[in-house]
């Protein structure tokens, strides 16, 4: 794959992180780190140069995912996608994140999302179909809206 993405996984459930890592690598991208808490996540983004971060809202140290997203965006300008079973908990402004992948997602849904996000990061706006279960933030849905 040309210019594979460097992906950071912020997820407190080991099984979900493992699966996500497997799918990201299967799609030809690189996982640069896996964090289970907000502190760990912030340290990791400072060290690794991630293009994209998958961030669970609820982490080891509580519902700190939104704070992580804020930090990543302010310090590094990386793109964040929330992964959560409770999308209603995401603030309306999405903390600048691209959107949310609602759990439980399907394997195909996630692979499609990866393809969509790859285009979004490398040559926006993406042209593939928005996968089921993936919701764009209001800001990105204006920027990436397909006519």
């Amino acid at each position: 794959m040309n210019e594979p993405l460097n992906v950071l996984i912020v997820e407190d459930e080991a099984l979900l992180a493992m699966e996500l890592e497997g799918l990201v690598e299967e799609a030809g991208h690189k996982v640069v780190g896996w964090a289970t808490s907000s502190d760990e996540a912030c340290t990791m983004v400072d060290q690794a140069d991630a293009d994209l971060a998958f961030v669970d809202i609820h982490l080891n140290d509580g519902p700190t995912g939104v704070r992580v997203a804020d930090y990543i965006r302010e310090r590094h300008g990386s793109m964040v996608v929330f992964m959560t079973a409770n999308p209603k908990r995401i603030p309306e402004h999405f903390a600048g994140a691209i959107g949310v992948m609602a759990k439980p997602y399907t394997m195909n849904g996630l692979l499609t999302a990866l393809r969509y996000l790859y285009e979004g990061v490398r040559r926006p706006p993406p042209t593939t179909t928005l996968p089921a279960g993936f919701t764009l933030s209001p800001t990105y849905s204006r920027q990436w809206a397909r006519v």
Binding site: E13, L15, L16, M18, E19, G22, L23, E26, H58, A85, N86, P87, A102, K103, P104, Y105, T106, M107, N108, G109, L111, T112, T129, L130, P131, A132, G133
Partner: protein, 386 residues
């Protein structure tokens, strides 16, 4: 009785005085005033400090004073420390403006006990309009006031009880809502983890048949997950749109590499069913669609699998109709390696009391399902399609 400002001659009350000895003789009105059980008095505003110039026996009985103690005095001796100052001011205003007034005053008897006095004061003028007297009547309304207070206290107590109960219920509801969200969250995470375990296991398996079996399990679990996600993502957890589910399912399955040349033809009308029917319906749709994608089409000369899959939903009165069709090689009665899927569909159809028909569509196959939908409020559309 209707006491209005009346016009009397200047010495009207002296006339009554003349009749002091014999009740009911001469001036029957004066006799009536003396004898009535209604407390009454007359004051003379032309004398200094508007003193009492007449009081009947009922007034004396009501207030506990002797006649000699009150004659010539202003009425304010009836007031006491708890009498409302604003009420007193209103009486004073009415008297100084020579208006009539009706008001409930807290008054005091000679022995210091309180009573509620429904006071009525009316000015009496002569034919030239000069103010001659004030006529006043008093009525003890302590009982009425007590019951008013009682009612007001009862009302306050009742409202307080309602407020407390409402708060209890709100707290209980909040706790239940939190619990529901927590359970929902766990169910979703667990479904995701089950899918993760199957997927990761699948990737380590060499044997193609085992891998396909695990893949089928994964698809079924994912169908359940999608039902759960859709139900709890919408604001209405009691109903489920089969059309939205079918569209997502087909789109999701077609994104898999190698199925790129299979085209979907959607003919979907909103088809809302109650949540209780959502899972079995979703599993049936999943089986039919995955079966078409796996078995209906053969590789063409170019190695590509090509064809069309059609899916339609209808919701005629009291029923749900689903049709899954393809233009492939035909799959009448299914192949042997799909027998579990077929059994699953037949059993779920029994559960749903659905009629299911496999038809030769030449080319391909058409599966029709028609089932009764459980009675519930029918929402036309849960959320907009894409």
């Amino acid at each position: 009785m209707d006491w209005k400002p009346t016009r009397e001659s200047a010495d009207a009350w002296h006339m009554t005085d003349d009749l002091h000895a014999e009740h009911g003789k001469g001036d029957p009105f004066a006799a009536a005033m003396r004898a009535t059980r209604m407390s009454m008095l007359i004051t003379d505003p032309r004398r200094p400090d508007n003193p009492i110039v007449f009081a009947n026996d009922a007034f004396l009985r009501l207030t506990g004073y002797e006649r000699a103690e009150i004659m010539g005095r202003n009425c304010r001796f009836l007031q006491g420390p708890d009498t409302d100052r604003d009420d007193i001011a209103r009486v004073r205003e009415a008297v100084s403006a020579a208006n009539d007034i009706s008001i409930d005053l807290l008054n005091y008897r000679k022995d210091g006990t309180q009573f509620w006095n429904a006071l009525y004061i009316s000015p009496v003028t002569n034919e030239r309009g000069d103010l001659l007297f004030f006529f006043a009547s008093q009525l003890d309304v302590s009982d009425r006031k007590r019951s008013e207070h009682q009612m007001s206290a009862d009302k306050d107590r009742f409202e307080q009880a309602v407020r407390e109960r409402t708060k209890e219920l709100e707290t209980a509801l909040e706790a239940k809502t939190t619990l529901l969200h927590e359970v929902d969250h766990r169910v979703k995470n667990n479904l995701q983890m089950i899918a993760s375990l199957i997927l990761m296991q699948m990737r380590t398996v060499e044997d193609r048949q085992i891998r396909e079996s695990l893949g089928s399990i994964l698809e079924r679990i994912e169908a359940l997950s999608t039902v759960h996600r859709r139900l709890y993502q919408s604001d209405d957890v009691s109903s489920f749109d089969v059309a939205d589910f079918a569209r997502d399912l087909v789109a999701d399955l077609l994104t898999v590499s190698g199925r790129g040349s299979i085209e979907a033809r959607y003919d979907l009308e909103p088809a809302v069913v109650p949540a209780t029917q959502a899972t079995p319906v979703a599993l049936v749709v999943n089986e039919l669609v995955t079966n078409v994608l796996k078995h209906a089409f053969r590789e063409g000369a170019d190695g590509e699998i090509a064809g069309h899959i059609g899916i339609s939903t209808r919701r005629p009165d009291g029923h749900l109709e689903i049709e899954v069709s393809d233009d492939g090689v035909g799959m009448i009665n299914g192949s042997s390696n799909n027998s579990f899927g077929l059994r699953l569909v037949r059993s779920l159809a029994r559960q749903l009391r659905a009629e299911i028909q496999w038809q030769d569509a030449a080319p391909g196959t058409r599966v029709r399902i028609r089932m009764p939908v459980a009675e519930q409020q029918t929402h036309t559309k849960v959320e907009g399609g894409k």
